[in-house]
Each structure stands twice: as C-alpha cells, then as structure tokens.
Point group: C2
Chain length 324, copies 2
C-alpha cells in the first residue's frame, strides 16, 4: 500500500527543520484526524511542526487530543520550511492560506481524492485509500515511527468518519486491519464515536425536525431533497447541518439526494449524494463545484427557489442520461 | 477467544442428524445474521438444519443470503434432534417456540448477553464478544469449517449492527480483525450497510419527523424521551420505529434516553438507553423487563401518559442515586 515516494519524503523530512501540516477549509473528520495524527506523532519526535486548519475545528472534533494546538495560520519566518498538505484535492482547498503555501519550495501532497490536481512538489495520491488518515498510518508505519494512543485516536476518527462508520464503498479488509492496529494502541472506539456522532446539541435535533418537514421527493421517487432557507439556518450553527443530507439519501428508491442551504449572502450551498447511477462529482463539476462520484458539492447564486430549480433540472437530466 | 466447550459441541454435532438453529423474537441484525451465518455454513456441509426465527425477519434484513430459508417454526419428528439457540438471554426469548425447544434433550446455548440464564445443556456465554455473530465466527473457525461469502455477509451484518457500526463499547481490536477476515471472503460492506441502514421507506422518515416533534427533555437536560401514541404508530410498521431511540440518546448532556410506544392492546413498550451512569438493564429489570447496562427494555400497562409518568419517576430516582 505504501508509496514508492517514501525515499523522497524521507529526504525532505531529513533536511527540513520546520514543517507546516495543513488541511482543507470546511474540515471534516479525516482532515482534522489526519492533521493531528501526523502532527502529534512528529511533535512526539521533537520535530518543529505547525498544525494549520484554516477554517478552525468543527465542534464535534474539538475533543481530539492536540486539537488546541491547531492554528488557523502559520509563521513563514523560517527558510527551511516544508508543507505537508493533507486531504486536499487542489491548492484552493486551503482557502486563505493557499497562496502562502503555494509559494513554498517544498509541498508534500498526501490525498486520496481521485480528482487531485497533483499540485505538490511530491504528490502521493491514492484514491484506493479509504481516508487520508489511512495513508498517514501507512506513512508512519513505513517510516518506522511509533504512533501513540493519542495520535491513533485521531487517525481512527479520520477513518471512521471518512468510511461513514465502515459503511461506505471505501470500506476494505485493509481498513479494518488498520482500525484493529490503531485500537491496539489503546484507542477507545466508542469514545471517539460517541463524541463525533452521538453527542449533538439539542439545536441540531430541532433543525433535523425542521429539515424533515421540508423533505421533498420527485413523483418517481428517484430524487429527494431538502431546501433550507436562511431564516431556518439562522438559529443554528454550521455544524448543525452536517449529516442532514443522509436523510433524503437513505429513502428506499432514491438515486440522488440534494441538500440546499441558503447562506447569509444569498448564495446557495449545495450538497449532492448518489447511490450508483450518477457521478455527482461530474454533475457538481458542471455547476462549478466538484467532489467524488458519490458525494460532491457546488455553490449556486440565490435565491433558494431558483437554485433549487436549476440543480433539479440538471439532476433530472443526468438521471435520464444514466437510464438511457 | 474460543470456548473450552469445543469438544462437547463437536460431540453433539457428530451424533446429531437434525439440527434446529433458532434466534429470539423481535429479531435484530445479530439474531438473523448469526442464525444465517451458522445455518448456511452447516447446510453447505450437507447437514440437515432447520433455521427458525419465530417472529420472522425484519424488512431490512430480508436481502441477506438464505433469508428465504428461515421458517417461523420447526419439525420435531426426528428423535436425534438438537437445538442451537443463538443470541437469547433466556429461553422465553424464543417466544412461541420456547416450549418445543425447551423439551429437547440437547440445547446448545450460544450468546453474549451477561444476563444469560444458562438454560442450555451446553452453555457458551461470552459477554466479551461484541455479537453472537462474532462467536459463531470463532466456532466455525475452530471447527475448521470454511465460511462462504454468503455466510460471511450474514455474520458481518450481525457484527455491524450489534456494534452500532463499530461505535459501541463492544467495538474491540478483535472484532475489527474478524471484520477484516469476513471481508476477505468477498463481503461488500457497503452493500450490507446500504441495505440495513441506508434504505428506509419514506414512511419511516416521515415517522421520524413525527417523533422529533414529540421529543421532550427534562429541565436539567439529563433525560430525553419520545412518547408515541397508537394513532401515530398506526400508519407505519414496527420496523419504522427502529433507531428512533438514538435521537433522544444523542443529545449532548443526556444520560438517559427513553422511547415509549403505545401498542394496539393499550400496553406501552419501552426502550431505554444510557450513556455511563445508569445501568438501564437493572432499571428495566425493576419494571419487569431486562437487557444490557446501556440498552434495555420493558413493557408497562397503558395508558401512555401513566406509563410515561412511571418510567420517568423511576429514571429520575436512578439518576439521583447515581449522582448521590
């Protein structure tokens, strides 16, 4: 599973004194989990590392060991600085720090997105990996660096979330083996899961109720969607909407699930999921967004009703073509 | 992990020509998964086996290989018959077939519930096992009987559901290793998960919306509950309510979650979940029910309001005592 790039990565690690490890904006469990898993392990070795999540850390991931050591920016004073960019399909996914990272002499790009643009000076991209955290596990193993319980907890969180709790198509025998080895360091899976999934503010449950009241399904049952206007979202925070898209997705007979969220600027952020026929990564790409075949997203101009109309039209067409 | 009872079990399997394998009423993924995992494997060997689930099979488990070979009763004509009872804490859990099984000369009791009453002639009870399906895996491994992809799919389903998708406290390094070995036979985890969890009738999503509209939380936030009157439940089937209790359970700060369902006879079926302080198995036992420390249930006489009052009073008291 490990990369032939190992010697190159080793060389960089040997000659670099200052490492910036960073992940993408709107970070998920894999972004933060792989950031901390790698970061804590390097720190444990006495390395100088800066951990950067340009958008901060979602509430439900702040319990992870080392979360308080993550900053939203980094110090570029050193001239022997290298960046390790985790879980980013392209450099733009670094948001406000994209430019600062982009000018560095050495960028190690570690990612599992098939659409990765190979923006690094070293690019280790493995779409077969379930999560970037799984890749970090292999990297540390092949560098013969021991992983502490704390770091393992973060990597386990990354894998658990990116496989949807060992439910998605990226759930392999290998990833279960990695999970086994992480747990053997002392990770308590139920604590990780309890904090990540099973501890939700009451506001989130109330929002779910509001969202389900707005659930719509096409007459043929193939597309299900939820449109959330600004005023509903106003009373909750961003994290509250995570996972909402699973509800339209799980309805029997649904091929395509869509979640539309109207933001304060009147733009509409759209999440897309599919079961098997539609490549929503392509669909989102056509609307200026991107992602995976089964999970993708884009942003459309408002108002909500017109964005809804547009994305439904494109979805219907994609479905027609897939059937045809 | 395997039992010292292996020689005894081997002897029974050698001298028996007819085996009845059965699971508990109100069957879950582990009941059906271990029943089919063991049953299909024995059938593959050319053994005469009868597979019995006295309450039938929940909708979302009917996709499992061999599900159509499960009956709700069995034929007792043979005099060299043995029963293997799976995942049952006591014989009553066999419901309508309890008596017929109880009179057999040989009952192999395989279960992971700590409250198991050791009702068998051979009792292999291992509360450390995540699922009865995990125990079946060890049994077949130690009997050196190969497990087909189909049987492995059923065992994987049992483990996935009983660990709550590798989220509950019973998620161990070993169970991930078992999962790895099951997947290596060709199991597609996402297909299992998709069918079990992510394919729900629209009626179930609509019921969730109704249930969330009835979600209540005590002023201190420690107890959250949902009471579902008969008229709400009337329009959906029993399966639609599965998983509802997770919603009160997941609210941040909640120690105890309760789901009350008023049935057609005016009785109220109550599910109980706790996080860490309360042993709901004991609590349910005090109300004539039973279960695990973190998940249990009981039935109280109606009407709904009085059952709600009673269970809340007992819950409040248990919480007080736990704090004190």
């Amino acid at each position: 599973m490990m990369t032939s790039l190992l010697p190159e990565i080793k060389t960089v690690l040997q000659k670099t004194t200052d490492i910036v490890i960073c992940c993408h904006i709107d970070p998920d469990g894999d972004a933060i989990g792989s950031l901390l898993g790698l970061g804590l392990t390097f720190k444990n070795q006495g390395r100088k590392v800066q951990l950067v999540s340009p958008d901060g850390i979602p509430l439900n991931l702040r319990f992870l060991p080392g979360a308080n050591e993550i900053a939203t920016n980094f110090n570029t004073s050193s001239d022997r600085i290298a960046a390790i960019v985790l879980d980013c399909g392209d450099l733009d996914r670094l948001g406000p720090i994209a430019q600062e990272v982009g000018v560095l002499d050495c960028i190690i790009n570690i990612d599992h997105h098939p659409t990765n643009t190979l923006f690094g000076t070293i690019n280790w991209v493995d779409p077969k990996a379930s999560a970037t955290a799984e890749m970090v596990f292999y990297l540390l193993r092949d560098l013969s660096i021991p992983v502490s319980k704390n770091a393992a907890t973060c990597l386990y969180a990354g894998i658990h979330t990116d496989t949807g709790g060992f439910r998605y198509q990226n759930t392999t025998a290998q990833v279960h083996q990695v999970a086994q080895q992480l747990i053997q360091t002392g990770v308590k899976p139920w604590e990780v899961a309890d904090r990540i999934y099973d501890t939700k503010p009451l506001s989130q449950i109330r929002l779910l109720q509001e969202a389900l009241a707005r659930l719509q399904v096409t007459s043929d049952g193939r597309i299900a969607w939820i449109s959330l206007p600004r005023q509903v979202l106003k009373s909750c925070n961003e994290d509250d909407t995570s996972g909402l898209i699973n509800y339209p997705r799980m309805i029997a007979g649904t091929e395509l699930a869509i979640l539309l969220k109207e933001d304060d600027n009147g733009q509409v952020r759209i999440g897309l999921r599919s079961r098997e026929l539609i490549d929503v990564g392509l669909l989102a790409h056509g609307l200026g967004g991107g992602g995976h075949p089964r999970a993708a997203g884009c942003v459309l101009p408002g108002p909500l009703a017109s964005a809804e109309k547009k994305v439904l039209a494109v979805a219907q067409q994609a479905l027609q073509e897939a059937k045809g």
